[in-house]
Symmetry: C3
Subunit: 321 residues, 3 copies
């Protein structure tokens, strides 16, 4: 983020890690770091996006992601409006396209979309003049989660290049895993996915990672990234693992599986006692709270980047001074 | 809105089109036009209502109307508070009167009410010192919808006087139709309602409109205003039309029914393929997105009008300059 | 609140009336009175908490309490974020502790907690650096309700010391009753609880009140405080009273039971015709609306007190001048 570097080309949307270049990631992470500094002050509000409007369009429930985006927008002095599927015309069967057109008529600056269907954010993006941010679509992508995970790793370990990250658990249903593998690949880190064969999708290597079904393979990693095990995947017809108890014993991350010097991450909400042992979750090795805090500054950085990078920019640290 | 005209008398509430005079409508539409100009600026926020509080009391789900009022209030720098029936003491069986008294104790400036029962906004108005805006009560009235429709027509067609508007579909259950017919009558436009006999309420002519069951009657209209067909009206005991398919064929607005030069409007959310063909909804003749945008500026204008018209006023365009 | 008195020691949380000293109560009530004066102005917003963040974490539905806290925070220019159990990761089974840790990572200044389980706010307080306010936990405590009731009594009757307050109805399930009895004891007022034996918990005297099952005992009171009868307590296996009708006749507060000079209070929402007769609820003796208004200023005062009392303080009336 040197004064001499010409501004990067504008990115109208953040739909997928796939659409980013390494420079984009670096720029967002630099901005996040500068913003993190500004949040140490007593008054945490910046006037940067005053008068701008951020709409959160959420078709899935989420505490972390929605509150994180809402607060990110408010800390930058933007107005926010949150539209959820419950209690909205979604209930009346309005198509996503029409909802996008409706919201766009208000000229929002950014629409943040979470949706159970893959590609929903892109559909919104095709029907709006606003910048669109994908806050999770089906099992496809969750790019701001990947960016906040990179930020967390870099702040905790001092680097990303060459870092070795083991991602453990239900990779099959995880948009977090997909986005993170791509993001690690982009910044020169090394990803390994580990889990029972039923939870490792065929062909996952193509995203740029190694694969193992042996939990002992995590021993070499700098970061053990634990995925959430979704209870609704257990039992009944669609049983991917025999029981939560057996899963916890085979792939759950307890103290005996964490090597000194390793850090442990989890995107939350955690199932304590299933994929992660409370003794690990509450230990100094866990960066879970750091990730939540990173979520705020990285989402501020993404909003800032989308709304200001098109113009010739002053470096963010000058503006924050 | 000439400088020389004395200010109109204060209107404490907006409960029904019936309570308005033509001057009131003209004044709100002029204000909306001035506000629309101001929204073209990069920063869309006006300080006009800073420190004022707008409460949205919604007993029915609605994306468009609620977000439109919330955003209208925020763009004028008012604080907003939205109370919905789900997750509120409404669930505990509190009477509407007591809810009105409770909210009024906070001294809000405006209470916006949507309720399934006819007359609910008037009941609130009798129990508060705030200005009350009816955002839809049962099948009775939806006055801000009618005002935004007038604004949309005037901006698209250059006039209201003498305009010919065909309103098509489920007139029986439509508060939109009732308010719009009255509003058109007030400004000197001509309304025709068209639909199957089961969906045309007896005595509707008394509101000031012509009536036809022949869809071909829309050919002479300048505006084809398509009403939402509510799926819950179909089938079962309360069947007003045999099937959605048959309704679409008899009264749905497809390209073959729209004459060159006609514009098409719909209050949303649209049932594409039922009352409106997607080829019409997505054509240049459709003003649906204009209506949504008009909803924002007209609701800003209504809030502005209620809160400022009692005092001696500067013309709004001076204040916005 | 004299200039010469040294500032009281900081209270990081407001979890229970039990944790307060009389000086704390006096200080909050003085602040509330000063704030009430400021709300008479046309623009009701104070810049006091600009840039601060108040999170409302509500696991139970509530119009009054949630809107009251939201508005209190906004009137002091704080940012607010409301997290409810519906539509949040609570639905995904996240533990309260993890939700507390997650929210805390955003560095909020205050977390307001309502929860059906006793002790939930304390659990949150042990896992956050924010100030925590108990907005009702199970049938345990509701301290801001007790404080607003004291404020209402003092403004209406001119004093608290020596006041005689009869609390009537379902004391068993009422956190309001528990907090209020303790608060009255703290400020030197006298509490009497009255109700059918089934609704008076054994050992309630220990909180510092007299007890009677005879409704005529309220005749001597200055204040008749009517508790909400919860319909879900009637009938079925857990029947505490034979019927609502019989309860209304035995313990409902009708005009014949209110002596001239007595005032009547109710925490809302009221069951008109059950525990309170509409003729009483709508009479000049009823302070119900005063209580709601008091809720706003007392919650502003609590937020103000938590966030500013640690520093050497100017008296609030100077700041508000």
């Amino acid at each position: 983020m040197s004064d001499l570097r010409p501004p990067a080309p504008p990115r109208r949307h953040l739909l997928s890690i796939r659409g980013l270049e390494r420079d984009d990631v670096e720029r967002v992470l630099e901005t996040a770091r500068a913003l993190a500094g500004s949040l140490d002050r007593e008054v945490k509000k910046l006037p940067t996006l005053r008068g701008r409007t951020v709409v959160n369009l959420f078709y899935e429930s989420s505490t972390r992601t929605l509150t994180s985006f809402e607060l990110a927008a408010k800390r930058l002095s933007a107005d926010t409006m949150s539209v959820r599927s419950a209690g909205s015309s979604v209930d009346k069967g309005e198509s996503l396209k029409d909802t996008a057109l409706t919201l766009s008529a208000y000229d929002p600056d950014v629409i943040v979309v979470r949706h159970p269907s893959i590609g929903a954010p892109e559909l919104v993006a095709r029907n709006t003049a606003a910048h669109v941010v994908n806050a999770g679509d089906g099992k496809h992508q969750h790019p701001t989660q990947a960016l906040l995970d990179l930020h967390t790793m870099r702040e905790a370990l001092g680097r990303l290049e060459g870092l070795h990250v083991a991602i453990v658990g239900d990779v099959r249903h995880s948009r977090v895993a997909r986005s993170l593998v791509q993001a690690l690949d982009l910044v020169g880190a090394r990803a390994l996915v580990v889990g029972p064969p039923t939870l490792l999708p065929r062909g996952i290597e193509a995203l740029g990672c190694a694969v193992s079904t042996d939990i002992r393979a995590i021993a070499d990693a700098d970061v053990v990234y634990v995925l959430r095990m979704q209870a609704e995947r257990m039992g009944s017809g669609e049983a991917y693992v025999p029981s939560l108890r057996e899963y916890a014993s085979s792939y759950g991350i307890g103290p005996e599986r964490v090597r000194r010097g390793q850090v442990v991450m989890h995107p939350g909400p955690m199932n304590r006692g299933v994929e992660i042992d409370p003794r690990v979750a509450d230990s100094g090795a866990a960066l879970v709270t750091d990730q939540v805090r990173a979520g705020l500054v990285v989402r501020m950085a993404v909003l800032y980047d989308l709304l200001t990078v098109a113009a010739v920019r002053e470096p963010v640290h000058a503006e924050l001074a």
